[in-house]
Symmetry: C2
Subunit: 300 residues, 2 copies
């Protein structure tokens, strides 16, 4: 079952305690789409500027990622993000953001894409996320990500969005901010009571939590000695999760849990190199091999 993702495509500059990269391929929708493409065809909807290297489009298209919805906007520049990781490689500072083409991004989905039944709204203003929902009326599964910027600055729109989606994916600090509750188990359920049927709280190196009416669980991150660049881990998590759900074509509790596990493993590969470098080296079979290790790790 094909999957649509709407969100940012970016050129990232990343500083870690030991290495740096400038203007590498990044963006939430990029990482999401690439991770999801191990499981299912993906339609990527985003915008870039005239400075966008065509090789990046080719890299995406070489997988089963349809870039028809990736607009190259004349006269505009691509979104740029510069960030720096602290020595723990889990916390980071944003050093610079240039929204550029995203300053006025108003996605118009190609006709074929609007008929998609699996939809992921990566980080973006909730008003824009809702305009995408308006275009995809027939979607069976609508999942969104959000962030502190919109929790603080667009609370009403976010509240409306939460009533219109099936699932929300967010970070631990964002879940605390949104609910005012420091206990993540309570916070997860409070977010769920705002609308979505299920909520996923991402905890970075500590894994992810899942909340639905009848289920509460935690899956740890896959233990990785070699964290090179955590950028895109959360988005790869979302891509692995949604990709597997779309592939399976259902969202029963068992499939959702396995999707959480695939999300965890997609993220574990992403952090092993800068940008999409590690994901480009692997195949679905590598994810499946790591899945066997991960299952062994969690059985006793």
């Amino acid at each position: 079952m094909p999957l649509v993702v709407v969100g940012s495509v970016a050129l990232d500059s990343v500083r870690t305690p030991t290495e740096s990269r400038d203007n590498v391929l990044g963006g939430s929708a990029t990482y999401f789409a690439y991770a999801a493409s191990f499981f299912t065809p993906v339609h990527l909807v985003s915008a870039v500027g005239e400075d966008w290297p065509a090789e990046h489009t080719r890299l995406l298209a070489a997988r089963q990622i349809d870039t028809t919805g990736l607009q190259v906007v004349p006269g505009a520049k691509t979104f740029r993000w510069t960030g720096k990781y602290l020595p723990n490689m889990n916390d980071r500072e944003t050093l610079d953001v240039q929204l550029n083409v995203f300053d006025r991004f108003d996605p118009v989905l190609p006709e074929e894409v609007t008929r998609c039944r699996y939809l992921f709204l990566a980080n973006g203003p909730p008003a824009i996320q809702m305009r995408v929902l308006d275009q995809c009326k027939g979607a069976d599964l609508r999942v969104a990500d959000t962030m502190d910027l919109y929790i603080r600055g667009a609370a009403d729109e976010l509240a409306e969005l939460l009533r219109r989606i099936d699932g929300l994916v967010l970070n631990d600090s964002e879940a605390k901010l949104l609910t005012g509750d420091e206990n993540l188990v309570r916070a997860g359920h409070k977010v769920r009571e705002m609308g979505p049927r299920f909520v996923v709280i991402k905890k970075g190196e500590h894994g992810a939590m899942f909340f639905s009416q009848h289920e509460t669980y935690v899956l740890p991150a896959f233990p990785t000695p070699n964290v090179v660049d955590p950028t895109g881990a959360g988005d790869s998590f979302g891509g692995g999760m949604m990709g597997y759900l779309a592939e399976q074509g259902n969202v029963d509790p068992k499939t959702l849990k396995k999707a959480m596990a695939y999300g965890t493993l997609a993220a574990s590969f992403t952090v092993e190199a800068f940008s999409l470098d590690r994901l480009q080296q692997i195949q679905r079979a590598d994810l499946d091999r790591r899945m066997e290790e991960y299952k062994r790790m969690l059985s006793f």
Copy 2:
């Protein structure tokens, strides 16, 4: 198989964002012993002062905890700790410490206790921990805990201790401090290379990691909406883990992993109330029921 624990018994004063308790039963060896007593008989070796309420000894003795090794030192006062939890209920500040009787604690183990084959050295100066090792020459399994104070202030003795024990249990921040490595997977193995056959890194609300020559794994904490007081969670973890190992009488990889799970669950009960209040309400069957839930949570 009986189990010995040597460590602190204390009167704790605890401030949480919503509630406080003064002079309640605490101490690392206390929590450890109580959690372990669900699995096996425990010999508790520690010291208290004349101010020690006899009811606390009765509370321990009412379970299978032998308090012959709990000296009541004339003229001395019991160890007291006062701490305050931050709103996240994971980080805390120590407001006051009165070592009192522990200022010159030099444990002399009763003859019967020295023949024990399972030994846990709760937090304490490594030189003292080694004096206990000297008395228990026949132990099959010697596991110790340590803390930042000794990593910083008694590095040589700690290095010697590490070469003489089978396992070390420590917090994530302590593992980073001891190794200078911010990546916990690498840090765990670096600690292991300092001597112990296995290392357990406790991550508080994020669970625990295990390291041996051939194994690296993470188990998440049991998700608890109701964290009342995290004091003693790490010690209860140790007690549940060692208690199960002593009960089983072996330390093969499968038993160790299940022991890690029991430690996780013992801790999950401890945090649901102040002091030992929650552990006093439960039976082994409650741990086993939660174990079934925990296993279900981690299978997919």
